[in-house]
């Protein structure tokens, strides 16, 4: 913490502990709270995983059941995030560019999944998409049966939970985009479709990807809504967070920790990817 403020670097001769005493108390509270709440738990988890010999770690991490939960969790989350990437961008576009009745209300309710507790979301989605639910009963005659308590249900819950991330990431960028460029394209005879593909989409693309990555990372970690809407059957719709939970219930701490480390590592990688994407998106601003 020697770099906290320039005044600390003016006196390099002082011992470390004296410098530490001059660290502002705001910093002490911040670092202290982060240490207790975040750093120590993460370190504890990695150390716990480290007590497993690598071969056993690998065996647990790549056991059949673990692999099937990665498949359900990550593949379904990618599907949900990409679907929302398309529709979320469309919703952001509509909210920014057009005027229509109840626009303010619709804009405000996009954040519903942030505010609605996940167990409530799971409960109501499971009911609505069950075979005799409001939407499920309409889809059943179309051949789409058994949405709740299946992998499709997991996808529905992930779509619900990740939608606002994409809309809220794309919306402000779309708002600040200069209209003149589009008008110039129109003046040069480009069709609406060409304008969208060649003028609007390229600078927007990193932002959309950021939103998709944020939505994906939330969908992967999601527990409350997915555990309720899925039947949690191994090799069918069992997601990785539920597997961790089941391992803990069986007092299999090392099994839970290994799967937990896999999930945590993926969150950390995604965090880096999102930071990179945001830096990439910012390059368009500086031009």
């Amino acid at each position: 913490m020697t770099t906290v403020s320039p005044s600390l670097e003016v006196e390099p001769k002082k011992p470390f502990w004296k410098k530490l005493a001059r660290v502002p108390w705001t910093w002490r509270i911040t670092i202290g709270y982060l240490t207790v709440m975040l750093f120590i738990p993460i370190i504890a988890m990695f150390l716990k995983a480290g007590t497993e010999p690598p071969s056993r770690f690998w065996a647990i991490a790549t056991s059949d059941i673990a692999l099937s939960t990665y498949n359900v969790t990550f593949v379904t989350a990618i599907f949900a995030a990409f679907l929302n990437g398309i529709f979320g961008t469309l919703i952001a576009w509509v909210l920014v560019r057009y005027d229509f009745p109840f626009k303010r209300v619709i804009d405000a309710t996009v954040d519903l999944p942030f505010a609605l507790p996940t167990s409530v979301a799971g409960l109501t989605l499971a009911t609505v998409y069950s075979n005799n639910g409001w939407i499920g009963s309409l889809l059943a005659p179309l051949g789409i049966q058994q949405i709740s308590f299946s992998r499709t249900g997991v996808a529905v819950a992930m779509i619900f939970i990740s939608l606002p991330f994409i809309v809220r990431t794309v919306q402000p960028v779309l708002q600040e985009m200069e209209h003149e460029i589009e008008e110039a394209a129109w003046c040069l005879g480009a069709s609406q479709w060409q304008t969208f593909w060649k003028v609007i989409l390229p600078p927007l693309f990193p932002t959309i990807l950021t939103g998709v990555a944020l939505g994906f990372s939330r969908a992967v970690g999601e527990y409350g809504s997915t555990v309720i809407i899925s039947s949690n059957t191994p090799f069918q719709d069992l997601i990785a967070p539920v597997l961790i939970f089941q391992r803990l219930e069986q007092y299999d701490y090392s099994g839970a920790t290994v799967i937990g480390i896999v999930l945590l590592s993926i969150s950390l990688v995604l965090l880096l990817a999102i930071n990179f994407l945001q830096a990439w998106a910012r390059r368009y601003d500086s031009r």
Binding site: M45, Y98, P117, L125, V128, F160, L163, H179, T257, L264
Partner: protein
């Protein structure tokens, strides 16, 4: 919520008029239709369903569900968890926001990402980390047992889980406001001889109040609604360590769908209140921007 007022930020209002005529008129209608249909399928119909199911058999059964002892205990526990984790996270959030917004230092972006970490860590993993620290086999497990302190499957563990998942909101909402506001007034106050806490109370706090309130509302919503992390550490014992979201799931699994939806309505109302307050606060800050 009033919808008739023009929005302050809408870029559409001043640009619509200059749109070239060759724009096909059916395109906006189609796009708006698709957007609303998608939102209806994913959000609106499920949201309406919560209220419909809770009151489908009338208000009587609904009210009788609300007076169950295990339900009332869950409500009390939910409030208590939020009431304690809210001030904790506020103090941390304000300190972190101040430290980050008022100092330029290398690794600033990393610290910002670290503060956001609880959002990207799966709630179950968050719960697992707490179990690995304070559980029977955890780091502090033997010591806690020797001193007869229960954290896992008890209130302190649930509090840790709740505080963890709702940690970043205040810092996240206050940092941009603090950055935009700048240091000038604070420095002016300092040259006039104000003490640190005086500067904070009289200069800084008034200027960040809307951002802070916004962060508090989000913290509260997450704290009351958290399910995954709390369910890992609580053991989910009815009447003892069951919060409202856990009650919802438990009742649903026991095929007491009505009781589940009765509790879900309360949480859905919390969500509605959160969204309305959020909207009001967003307008407040926007009006200030326009001025």
């Amino acid at each position: 919520m009033t919808v008739d007022k023009p929005s302050f930020h809408s870029s559409a209002s001043d640009t619509d008029t200059v749109k070239p005529q060759e724009q096909k008129s059916w395109v906006p209608t189609l796009l708006i239709g698709i957007a609303i249909a998608y939102l209806a399928l994913v959000q609106y119909i499920p949201a309406i369903n919560v209220f419909f199911q809770a009151f489908s058999k009338g208000v009587g059964p609904f009210l009788s569900n609300l007076t169950r002892a295990d339900f009332l205990n869950a409500v009390w526990l939910t409030f208590l968890l939020a009431a304690i984790s809210l001030p904790l996270n506020t103090v941390f959030g304000l300190c972190a926001a101040w430290a980050i917004a008022r100092h330029k230092f290398p690794g600033r972006a990393i610290i910002l990402s670290i503060i956001d970490l609880p959002f990207s860590i799966s709630p179950v993993v968050a719960g697992l980390m707490i179990v690995l620290l304070y559980g029977r086999q955890g780091w502090f497990g033997p010591w806690l047992q020797a001193n007869d302190i229960r954290i896992i499957f008890a209130f302190p563990g649930m509090l840790l889980a709740t505080a963890f998942v709702s940690m970043p909101f205040v810092a996240r909402e206050v940092i941009p406001v603090l950055e935009e506001f700048g240091k000038d007034q604070e420095e002016a106050a300092r040259t006039l001889g104000a003490k640190d806490w005086q500067i904070f109370l009289r200069v800084t706090l008034p200027s960040i109040r809307w951002g802070l309130l916004y962060g508090l509302i989000l913290t509260n919503a997450r704290a009351m609604g958290e399910f995954g992390a709390v369910s890992v550490v609580s053991g989910n014992i009815a009447d003892q360590t069951q919060t409202l979201p856990l009650f919802v799931e438990d009742a649903y699994k026991q095929y007491e769908t009505e009781a589940a939806f009765s509790a879900a309505v309360l949480l859905a109302l919390l969500a509605v209140v959160t969204l309305v307050l959020k909207e009001i606060l967003e307008r407040k800050t926007r009006i200030k921007d326009v001025e």
